[in-house]
């Protein structure tokens, strides 16, 4: 399956500045791993050492959040568009494990 993978600006340096690439795979995970094989900086940017997707990234296949499908095992149809979005979060509370704050 050939899938268009669109990435946010934080991941573009790992794809030589590109906004989107075409990658191959039968599942979301395979598509990401295929992109990682072709672009060495991409894998560490999207995967934890455990192989799980980094927590601050959200993936949408079509209009669906893949977390509510089958996660990285979600099958991808040929010609699909997979969109990676950065989580947007924050707040006045201090980061985990730290005292004080703003």
């Amino acid at each position: 399956m050939s899938v268009t993978l669109r990435v946010p600006s934080l991941l573009r340096p790992s794809l030589e500045g590109r906004i989107e690439i075409v990658a191959e795979g039968a599942t979301v995970g395979e598509v990401l791993r295929s992109a990682a094989a072709a672009h060495p900086g991409f894998g560490p940017a999207v995967f934890e050492a455990s192989g799980a997707l980094r927590r601050f990234l959200n993936l949408f296949l079509g209009d669906e959040d893949v977390r509510y499908l089958q996660g990285l095992d979600t099958p991808v149809p040929d010609g699909a568009v997979l969109v990676i979005l950065p989580a947007a979060a924050g707040g006045a509370a201090p980061p985990d494990g730290q005292n004080g704050g703003s």
Binding site: S9, L85, A88, A93, P95, Q98
Partner: protein
Amino acid sequence: MEFPAEIRRAMVAHAAFCLPDEACGLLAADAAGRLRMAYCLSNSTPSPTAFTLDPAEHFRALRHAEAQGWYLAGVFHSHPGGPAFPSATDVAQAYEPEWLYVVVGLQAPAAPEVRAFWIRDGVVAEEAVREVAGEAAEALR
């Protein structure tokens, strides 16, 4: 940067509506970089001291912005009891180097403060904003 008055009003109104919790949303700009829309979105971790933009709403805002020929240019959130300045958490979780990070401070509720920042590699740089009456600005919820 020019900041359309309607967008400022939308962010401040959303911040007031969401009290006592933090409010959040996204900003869209047109191809010329002019801010055109404040998407007032849900905080999926409602709290007076934290926000997480609802991912599905984020995705719908992206779709809407792109359908207009715009792009997502930034994120805003409120500090209900604090200053309009990024907290350590905000800085630690500012992943998009090309986004403008806007904070609405409601420390003095009668005089809300709105300030904008670039956050890159943990470094916060304020962007001077000038409020203008504008052609921008609708607010969606």
